[in-house]
């Protein structure tokens, strides 16, 4: 089966010649849960933003389902950024209507079910919700889509262990099994158990792209331990 995402010679240089990604080549398959791992400032978020069309590459290209990031890719990519993107003046139910209007693959009944399980009132205004609850609502919205590619940027950063478990459970139980999930994080031990593959990047360059099984067998270590070895300061 052909790759879902193909990245060819991708380079992103910010102002003042800061190189965030350098000649990155990568092919991401379908139907996998992939950890995008690297230390802070390694280029994870830049790569994710480029995949979502929020940045323009300096050189090279990304193709998702054969298309450059744009209207077609946004129909099939469900993206959870590391920040909350809601308009605070909206009610939760208005947010559901918003997603229903724009994303053909959004399943409102699934979203309502997850909101109810957390006891979040659909009539609540987003400005009245705590930061943690807003993050959960955002995750629910993202995971209530039957997308082909879920891109989750630091979904468990800054939340308590119980919330981490909830988030991981939500991801595992709700993603479309034919889809690929890319999870960017540096909290590897928490997500290792759900990953099929890992991608290590450092200083904008690909260090490694292997299955979790291969790492465990070949290196005799957990991904977390191997990550610590590779990125030791």
């Amino acid at each position: 089966m052909s790759g879902l995402v193909k990245i060819n010679n991708l380079t992103k240089v910010y102002e003042k010649k800061k190189v965030a990604l350098e000649h990155l080549n990568l092919e991401i398959p379908r139907g996998k849960i992939i950890g995008l791992l690297g230390p802070n400032g390694s280029g994870k978020t830049t790569l994710i933003k480029l995949m979502n069309g929020l940045l323009v590459p300096t050189e090279g290209e990304i193709r998702i389902n054969g298309c450059l990031p744009g209207t077609e890719t946004k129909k099939c990519v469900s993206y959870l950024p590391e920040r909350t993107y809601f308009q605070n003046s909206m009610q939760v139910k208005e947010l559901i209507d918003y997603f229903v209007d724009f994303y053909g693959d959004f399943r409102p009944e699934r979203a309502r079910q997850m909101l109810a399980s957390l006891g979040i009132n659909e009539n609540a205004y987003l400005r009245t919700l705590s930061k943690g609850t807003k993050e959960k609502v955002q995750l629910i919205m993202v995971m209530s889509r039957d997308a082909q590619l879920y891109i989750l940027d630091e979904p468990i950063a800054g939340v308590d262990p119980a919330a981490r478990d909830y988030i991981l459970k939500t991801i595992i139980t709700n993603y479309n099994e034919n889809a690929t999930v890319i999870i960017s994080t540096h909290l590897i031990s928490d997500i290792e158990k759900v990953l099929d593959e890992v991608i290590f990047i450092r200083d904008g360059r690909l260090v490694l792209h292997e299955t979790v099984e291969d790492i465990r067998e070949a290196k005799g270590k957990s991904v977390d331990a191997y990550f610590r070895e590779v990125f030791a300061c």
Binding site: E15, K49, N52, L54, V56, K74, P81, S89, Y98, F102
Partner: protein, 280 residues
């Protein structure tokens, strides 16, 4: 998708401008009601002065509400496109063109509604004032009512010749200004994003730069035209009879310039959104 974008943009935006215009109407009515108070014929200057202050407050409110709506719409555009909210806005399966058109349309409509609202507030003020005056007797009241009746006779004077065509050109310019005004704000904010480290400062700078360019264009076009008209004596002649034909030409030229600038800024903004977008 454009229809959905427009629907959600309207839903997100309408409350604040409507509230501001509602407050303006209340202030207009209160200012108009001061004419019903027995203060204008008072021997003590403080009483009529307080009435004048209330009317001044209405004047300030008209400016404040117009400005407030523009600032609100500008902040809304900035937040929705280039801050955290932009992460959702720019990952919707819509084109940059659809996004931009929805923003321009709603902002233009609110600029128009704001102008109509301010105009209507003057009608409210005038209507309440005349009603107040008519309901009371006194020298001041009869004086103002006489003055208002006199306004009706003005239309027969030669001075007001060509006023109708001038009115049409004014309405046309107002409509064009709503679009170009919205475009100047949108383009300023969009251009400001190119100054990555100082985006707000960049937007303010772009706003002043665009306005300076427009003023420059007006100077280049208007100055020779005014001189020529003066030399032909036409300007002087016309001004002695009616200035409105001159102003009609002037407003039409201004409308064309504003329209051209607005269209140019639209395409520039679309290009920047499509090719140069970089969310923080």
């Amino acid at each position: 998708m454009l229809g959905k974008l427009i629907k959600h943009e309207w839903k997100a935006v309408w409350k604040v401008p409507a509230l501001l215009l509602g407050i303006l109407m209340i202030i207009a009515a209160v200012a108009g009601l001061t004419f019903a108070l027995p203060i204008w014929d008072s021997d003590w200057i403080g009483l009529p002065m307080s009435g004048i202050m209330l009317i001044m407050m209405f004047y300030v409110a008209m400016i404040g509400v117009s400005l407030g709506i523009v600032i609100y719409l500008a902040v809304r555009y900035f937040k929705n496109m280039f801050t955290d909210e932009g992460y959702l806005t720019h990952t919707l399966p819509v084109t940059s063109r659809q996004l931009l058109i929805s923003k321009v349309m709603i902002m233009s409509v609110w600029e128009l509604l704001s102008s109509i609202g301010v105009l209507f507030s003057m009608v409210v003020f005038g209507g309440v004032a005349v009603f107040s005056l008519a309901s009371k007797e006194g020298d001041f009241a009869s004086l103002v009512i006489e003055a208002m009746k006199g306004l009706g006779n003005l239309w027969d004077m030669p001075f007001f010749k060509d006023f109708q065509i001038f009115g049409v050109s004014t309405v046309f310019m107002e409509l064009v200004s709503c679009f170009s005004g919205a475009m100047i704000i949108i383009a300023s904010i969009t251009m400001g994003q190119m100054i990555r480290k100082h985006r707000v400062l960049g937007s303010v700078g772009a706003y002043f730069a665009i306005n300076a360019v427009i003023q420059g264009i007006f100077m280049v076009i208007m100055f020779p035209m005014t001189i020529k008209m003066a030399l032909d004596n036409a300007f002087l002649y016309r001004f002695e009879t009616s200035p409105f034909s001159f102003y009609t030409i002037m407003f039409t030229i201004m409308s064309v310039v504003y329209l051209a600038v607005g269209v140019g800024l639209y395409f520039l903004s679309e290009y920047l959104l499509h090719k140069q977008l970089e969310l923080e």
